[in-house]
Structures are given as structure tokens and as C-alpha cells.
Symmetry: C2
Subunit: 223 residues, 2 copies
């Protein structure tokens, strides 16, 4: 059984990514990051999802991104926007996926895992540079030389199964695999109970996804 | 004046790297990582060096590498060796430079810095895969696509001025620039006062470097 490190934020995409990795028989070791994000409910969700989907292990890595700042998700002085403007949104966390993949790379080395699964996709791209295919390809090249495994054989394979899927496609795949999306939290400013605001960009993309997929949305909203 | 992010561990190499960046007129923003390393004296050293060399800002980013483990530097159950064996040593921290450069990349984006300086070198390579030229080149390719700057123009330049220098060469350059190496701590298991063990691999490389350079070594040793 091949081991895989799976990035698991607690959102819809990464939960689907985990369900897909389990479905192809991987022994999944999940990792979430406590980086001072506003939506702490995400971390609780990731723990619940890891448990429910039978991850072999789950880790939460602390990460002081607040020291770096520059994003509405890590800097409380920048407001989360309720309307998506043009360009790269202020919810973009500088180099976040580079940092997350780098830590997953370290973990893959410790666990001797042959794959790293990440749930980036074309819709989530919505202006985030580190959700593009070119980014994943460049990280794959880096992984091949950055580690002990890279010196001794070749680095782990970076698997991004959602890259070309729409939000509706992702949801349909997850539902087909029996994933309960009520476990997941997408909202950028969910309350401690995991209830969504219904107004931020992430809430909007999620609601549109369920509508396009023609499936009932189990999201719980703040009243 | 071009802005640069400079990785500053508090050791001999990164301090020299900062002195060189200052010497070519960069506005230097230094960053150190609090990753549960045994040698906490390093962090105090990095703060002193940043101040003494006139860094424009200094940050310490917390990083829970203990959750990942796999190294004598972050896992207290693995002993620091006093003799370098063959292959990649147990002091290797999985994907450490990938993680550090990823965080520096995020900071460069927030600060709009055009360069990231890192003090990796051929001697420090001593088996560490992420100190090789191929690693730096691969990270440069990644930086070009991973960030907002990468989308809008091109990413920051990765500058590794010590890459091809011996330890003796590095020390000679630093001394020529007026750097006081008494400020730096290299030992993997320095005490809280910054005094070195004199026996670990890092102590050995440092002592050899001063001897080869024909310069007095200001290292303070534990009695």
C-alpha cells in the first residue's frame, strides 16, 4: 500500500482530495496548518474529516504566518471582501501553497511517502498564482532535488487530482465516493461552530458549485 | 536601494551573507526561524547580528517542525553525533531550506523585495541535499511562478553568494567586511549563553575554517 501525505485544510477541495486518495488505495497521512487563519473552525473540520475518512495519521503544524502578514486571512487589519474584484484577491496568502507543499515534502521524507496530494483546482485559482498547473509542475521539479529521497532516487510525486475540475465536478466526485460535505468548512470567516457567512468569495464559489452539480448544499449558515 | 530578504540563522554563513548584501547596498530585511531547534542561542545571535549590521527589519517566524520530526535538531530522542559518518547526517532537517525559502518568498512578496539571499555553501553541503546548486536553481524556477510577483512580472532572484566558497573563503570575506564572528553561533548544541560544544560536525567545520583561513577563532567553548 503506497503511503501518501495529503494536505487537508478542512475545506471542500482537500476533503475530496483525501476521499479520492483513499479510493485508489493510498495509506493517507493528513496534515493541516495552524497559521493564524481567521477561520479556526477549519482546523476542527480537518480533524473530523481525517478521523471519519480513516487517515492513518493526522498532524497540525503550527506556522507563524502572522509574522509575515500581507493577507486578509492572516492579518486582522485587512477586511475579508464580500465581493470579488479584479486581479489577485486580498485573501491570497503570500506563497501559502509553496510553504504548505514544502512542509509536506519534509513530512513525506520522514514517513517515506511516495506521493503528496494537494487539492488545488482551476476554480480556486480565481487569481491565486500558486493554484496554477505551472506552479505544481515547478514544485515537482523542486521536489526531485530538494530531499534525501531526491538524492537517493527521486522525490515524491506531487498529485493534484482536482487541478482541471470545476467546483461542481469536484462535488459530484466526492458525493459519488460517499463524502459527507457537512463535515467541511469553506467560509473565510466561519464562526467557531463552523457556520458560514454566506457572503465571502469562498462561500459564493461553494454555493455555486452545489447549484451547478444539482445537489443539496449541507452548509450551515450564520443566522 | 533594492530591498532584499536575508535568511539569518545566527550562524557564520548567514551572517557573512548579510554582511555581503549590505556591502553591495541592499536594504536588508532579515528573517530567522524558531523551529524547535536545540540551539536556541542561534536565535539570540541572529537578533544581535541583525541589529549590529543594521538590518532594516528583523523577524522571527515560528514553525512547528517538531510535529514533523525526523532530525536530531528537532527531535530530542535523536542524539547529535560527534563524528560525521557517511551519507546524509541525522542533523539534516527534512526539506528545511525548501521551507525557509518558501517563507522568505512570502515575505519578499509582502515587502516587494527583488531578492532573497541565502547562505548555503559547498562545505555546508556535507550531504545536505538542499544545499546543492541544483536545489537553488529549482527554487529559482519555482519562485518565478509561485507568487503574485511571478504572475505580474517575475519572481524575486534567489542569491546564494557562498555557494562555491570554502569555509575559509567565507570567513576571509566576512573579516574583510569587518564582521565580528564572535556574534555568531554555529554549534548544534550550544548552551544558552552561546558557548559551543567543540565536538559536533558544525563546530568541527567552523574550527577548520578559521584554521585554514589563518585567522583567530573567537568561538567561546563550554568548559
Amino acid at each position: 500500500m503506497m503511503r501518501a501525505v495529503v494536505l487537508l485544510s478542512g475545506g471542500l477541495d482537500s476533503a475530496t482530495c483525501l476521499a479520492m486518495a483513499k479510493a485508489v488505495g493510498r495509506e493517507c497521512h493528513t496534515v493541516a496548518f495552524d497559521y493564524g487563519q481567521r477561520h479556526r473552525a477549519e482546523l476542527l473540520a480537518s480533524e473530523r474529516i481525517a478521523q471519519r475518512l480513516g487517515a492513518a495519521s493526522h498532524r497540525v503544524v503550527r506556522l507563524g504566518l502572522d509574522t509575515i502578514g500581507g493577507s486578509a486571512l492572516t492579518d486582522s487589519t485587512i477586511a475579508v471582501p464580500e465581493q470579488q474584484g479584479g486581479g489577485i484577491p486580498v485573501t491570497y496568502v503570500p506563497a501559502r501553497n509553496t510553504v504548505f507543499l514544502a512542509l509536506a515534502l519534509g513530512l513525506s521524507e520522514v514517513l517515506d511517502a511516495g506521493e503528496i496530494h494537494i487539492g488545488v483546482n482551476a476554480v480556486d485559482y480565481s487569481g491565486y498564482p500558486d493554484c496554477r498547473p505551472a506552479f505544481i509542475e515547478a514544485f515537482q521539479q523542486l521536489a526531485a532535488v530538494a530531499t534525501k529521497a531526491g538524492v537517493e532516487s527521486h522525490g515524491p510525486r506531487i498529485v493534484a487530482p482536482l487541478l482541471d475540475l470545476s467546483k461542481a465536478d469536484i462535488i459530484q466526485r466526492g458525493v459519488a465516493l460517499g463524502l459527507d460535505y457537512a463535515l467541511t468548512v469553506s467560509c473565510y470567516q466561519a464562526d467557531d461552530d463552523g457556520r458560514a457567512c454566506g457572503r465571502c468569495d469562498s462561500c459564493r464559489l461553494r454555493a455555486e458549485g452545489f447549484a451547478m452539480a444539482g445537489l443539496a448544499d449541507p452548509t450551515r449558515y450564520q443566522s
